[in-house]
């Protein structure tokens, strides 16, 4: 029994890291509706920026964390300018191409600058705390908490604020948004800034929980993508639920099935879920038929 509580917690911790990545991912997806393949790589850069600030520039943890979010936001805006904006009116798959290319570039750049070595924050005093039968570290707590805070914040941003509605409007029809007086370039820059800052946060926290490698972005992208789709595209809380679901399923699944099938379990559940609900857990089927008029 105790074991199962810990298993569940393990799943929640893993889910938290996925959720963190998924929130930022769904932000960008919500505006541009393309698989932002570079998301994980941007998260990776964010992690390295935080790492450099903490271990090389001796910046305290929290300011370093925020600083990395800020700098990575700038990077996101730049990436959008260079690689996505010129393709705004091109087919979506063209943006997927440049997104993959951006991840090539970022991964390689970090490898050139920082080397391929595995890095770690070497945080002191990061022991795990035992609460009843459960073991959890402060970083892991922070991961879960941050992902929930980000989710609530982003949900509020998208549904309650003018910016959020403008983001959805841009996603729905860029020309019409322009004609309505919305400066779409500005909005999309904002989306990338926020999305990349969230990515940086996820990268840094994942890096603190485990370690950093220039190639760590790929798996972040994949898990975020899977979580977002499972939750139902364009749905912030769906993304988070999807992420926690994947985390929990993986971890409890591994208890019964050899861990070499860990990813397969996650994908299996994903496939099953989409078989039952082709538009994701929270995606609305009726909306998929919107155009039938």
């Amino acid at each position: 029994m105790e074991i199962f509580v810990q298993l569940l917690i393990n799943g929640v911790i893993a889910g938290g890291t996925y959720a963190l990545a998924a929130v930022g991912y769904s932000m960008v997806y919500g505006a541009l509706k393309f698989i932002n393949f570079a998301h994980g790589s941007i998260a990776m850069v964010g992690a390295y920026i935080a790492f450099v600030l903490v271990t090389m520039a001796d910046v305290p943890l929290v300011p370093a964390f925020l600083g990395s979010m800020l700098l990575t936001a700038g990077l996101g805006v730049m990436v959008e300018r260079v690689a996505y904006r010129p393709l705004r009116r091109a087919p979506k798959l063209a943006s997927l191409t440049t997104a993959i290319a951006v991840s090539f570039v970022l991964d390689a750049a970090v490898m050139i600058i920082m080397g391929a070595d595995i890095r770690t924050f070497s945080l002191t005093g990061m022991r795990s705390y035992q609460i009843g039968p459960i073991y959890i570290t402060p970083v892991q707590g922070a991961i879960i908490l941050t992902s929930l805070v980000f989710m609530v914040g982003l949900y509020g941003l998208l549904t309650r604020t003018k910016l959020g509605k403008a983001i959805r409007a841009v996603a729905d029809g860029i020309s019409l948004a322009e004609v309505s007086g919305i400066d779409t370039n500005l909005i999309i820059s904002a989306v990338f800034a926020i999305g990349s800052a969230l990515a940086a946060a996820s990268g840094a926290l994942i890096g603190m929980d485990t370690n950093l490698q220039p190639t760590m972005g790929f798996i972040i992208t994949v898990k975020a993508f899977a979580a977002v789709v499972l939750g139902g595209l364009g749905n912030v809380w769906g993304a988070v639920v999807g992420a926690f679901l994947i985390g929990i399923v993986e971890n409890t699944g591994v208890w019964f099935i050899p861990p070499v099938w860990k990813d397969s379990i996650a994908y299996g559940i994903l496939i099953l879920a989409l078989f039952l609900r082709p538009s994701g857990i929270f995606g609305k089927k009726e909306e998929a038929q919107v155009t039938v008029l």
Binding site: L96, A101, V229
Partner: protein
Amino acid sequence: MELALVVHLLVVITIYGILAISLNLVVGATGLFNLGHAAFYGIGAYTSALLVKAGVPWLLAVLASMAMAGFVAFIIGIPTLRLVGDYLAVVTMGLGEITRAVFKNWISLTRGPMGLPGIPHASILGIEFDTADKYLILGIICLLITFVVAERILYSPFGRVLKGIREDEAAVQALGKNTYRYKMAVLVVGSAMAGLAGSLFAHYITFIDPSSFVMWLTFFIFLIIVLGGLGNNLGAVVVTVVFVALREGLRFVGLPLWLNPAALQQLIFGILLIIATIFVPRGLIPERKVVYE
């Protein structure tokens, strides 16, 4: 570049060319966002390698590997082809990874991560394709056959239905076509072609292991068809040549050692990719317009 290297690269090009053409049928023509293509390539490779090692003639083995890849595609298609867009993408990505997990963990059959060494060269009726030069001839023949078949598919009334599905599946249904069957047909055919490529690969390199069939390969082929021009087979082949030449050509640039040449090659490749996509967002040779006199 020396001749032997050129011949080798040409063989690689024929194999990737077949992959590109086949993925193009599924993605470019029909609009099915399939991220699991590498799995069918792997199924072809393993089927063929295992059969030939068991004494089956290559010609039979390659047919079997195409049949096997097609059959698996059929099974996979049953639950997944109801899905659209990114939902399909994530599910095919998952199935691709599950397939790879099978290659990796069905050790008694595939030797798992240890890989399958000593695969005999391809041979037809006693003609051994045991040198790269001979193999190139075989590769070109297979590429040509694939090309011709794909062209005939694309520009047939059948292909017209595929394009219609890409544009608006529901509208095609309103015209009395069972779109599910068309999608299934093209997935099976495309996957069988990938199986052919897999067989060619296995008997060329003579060693296969699960790491040759990773998701990255699918993305790589994706880049090729997007830059080639979705729905254009010639573009796919031309860009395969350009890609392979460029990516491998960068090895000859003589980048300074202190700058980490391998990573720098990746970086340059990524930048070139971004530039190219921005210049030809619809691909090098956009889809050919079907003109009726």
